[in-house]
Symmetry: C2
Subunit: 337 residues, 2 copies
């Protein structure tokens, strides 16, 4: 099934079940008013939501309305846990190279994850509003999962069934603020503004063969200012699978229902190296920092600028029939007023 949260002037929005083709939706207040309420009690709510979804897709529900992606909040407009991995070590290696930092060997065996802020997620069509566009505004196209309660010490093998929903993320980053912040040693804070999520989140069964219980094997499409920018396959070069990421965050804590765990920027190691832009026949990149790294390697300096006010980013994933799975994230960078 596919679920979304519509803006309704409340903080957590209104949960709706969305048709597979993303054309229709129906509210489900009799089951759960919000997605958090649904995931808090997933064993009970999931079968009921699934029944509504089956009816909706069969054309058996009368109380439907057109599904409008511009009316969406993030599926969880605010959450209690947002932990973002860097599962595609190729990305980590490139970004570190761009910062002049080494990649420790342990990065191939011990997942790199950061604790994100989850109090103010923004909708798929909301602007990226910032006080300045001199901070190196970058997008990061990622996949994220939502779990139910995951007990402390859960192993990767035990973690897999806790993955209940998947969605796309734009984990916006302020590259200019990162070096100073990381130098302080306590990780990101100001350099990670509000993340945006796709219009819908979906249960794993909606992904068919593309989901193997550990990773999602389809290209993730990023379009910067109307130009195809990236189409790496999210199932390729994922060093740490989602169950491994989930297991990592519950080593010393219980993880609460509705936790969002991100993959980190999708990145394929092509041609045995840094890959190529789409314009040169490659799969491109899921953030600007990577292409700037390649430009630095090849030309001595980056030439693709970071995003400025007015720039747009679109992130989407299509199934094998060319149908949008999650709807699209489409955001414009604007000055916060």
């Amino acid at each position: 099934m596919k679920l979304a949260t519509l803006k309704d002037a409340s903080r957590d929005g209104q949960l709706v079940v969305v048709s597979r083709d993303l054309t229709l939706c129906t509210p489900v207040p009799q089951i759960a008013r919000t997605l958090q309420a649904a995931i808090d009690n997933w064993a009970d709510t999931a079968p009921k939501l699934q029944a509504v979804s089956d009816q909706l897709n069969a054309g058996e529900i009368k109380e439907t309305k057109a599904f409008d992606q511009t009316e969406c909040m993030a599926p969880l407009p605010r959450a209690y846990q947002w932990a973002d991995g860097s599962a595609y070590i190729n990305h980590v290696e490139l970004v570190r190279k761009a910062r002049g930092a080494e990649l420790p060997d342990s990065f191939w065996t011990d997942p790199l994850m950061y604790q994100g802020g989850s109090d103010d997620f923004i909708g798929p069509r909301d602007d990226i509003a910032l006080a300045s566009d001199e901070w190196g505004v970058d997008f990061e196209a990622e996949i994220a999962v939502i779990t139910d309660d995951v007990p402390m010490s859960t192993t990767p093998e035990q973690a897999a069934p806790h993955i209940k929903l998947l969605m796309l993320v734009n984990d916006c980053s302020l590259r200019g603020l990162i070096p100073g912040e990381l130098a302080k040693g306590f990780g990101f804070f100001q350099s990670k503004p509000a993340s945006a999520f796709s219009p819908v989140c979906v249960t794993p069964d909606e992904l068919g063969d593309a989901w193997d219980g550990e990773k999602l094997s389809l290209p993730l499409l990023s379009t910067l200012n109307g130009q195809a920018f990236g189409k790496p396959d999210a199932g390729v070069d994922m060093t740490f699978t989602f169950p491994k990421l989930v297991s990592h965050i519950c080593k010393t804590r219980n993880v609460g229902a509705g936790a969002i765990i991100g993959s980190g920027t999708i990145s394929n190691k092509m041609n045995g190296g840094p890959g190529r832009p789409i314009s040169q026949g490659g799969v491109g990149y899921s953030c600007i920092a990577e292409i700037r790294m390649i430009e630095t390697i090849e030309d001595g300096a980056p030439k693709t600028p970071f995003m400025k006010f007015g720039d747009t980013i679109r992130i989407e994933m299509l199934d094998k029939n060319g149908q949008s799975i999650f709807g699209s994230i489409e955001q414009t960078v604007v000055k916060n007023v």
Copy 2:
């Protein structure tokens, strides 16, 4: 007024108003079922809760019950934002020295803060349950504030009125896991297990002259295994005030209602240096790492061990009349089963 959250088998517990002397409480479902619901709509709920508090303290409410601190969850059992500062630079300097790390000059002007995990806070009398006690289990006694919505770019001056509630924290840390985790560059994750909070949170007016709108000037008492361990004054040597910490976290994001911002470990720079244990006439320390640092300086090696299974920590703050303001955090380290 004083507020608490009682265990009731739900995830967010039951909000109660607590009498000033911590003996009585009364539920307020007609105003808000949970503290998050109250802070989500604070302009409306605060006056109503205050009226109940006034009546409760005047003995005018019949529907009361004895307030039992052992029945408390954290005031916010789960939250959308938990950002912890290191406002007492003396602590940062000592802990860094213990790790052999330098203190950059910028640490005196740019707040050091980390993004904490907020999906699984534990109650003031809940055990610190961990799979191992070989990880360097330490307590950190701190003060935290709860804000309403704080818009992006709020200045320190503008931030002060957003501070609505205060409470105590045990920001438990796993010292043995910190160096490896910080070396990866993305901050804490596994090295910060679930934090515990005091039984009650209070509005600033409950603190009288001890709260000046920026910091709380009273000793914070830590008792380790029944022995007085720390009593530093939280109003002394706080390099970054709470309004500055709040302003720091909203530079690039809107902060949602119910955000919890911590002071970091309370630490006084006594005698122009590292201070002295309480047993030697000093004000002691708010975590074990600090005393181990002093021992290393003086004797070449630390001798106070980190906490093991069975060890206990008590954290409390008394007003000028010796009355407990927030109730006490009292936790035992136990093996997670």
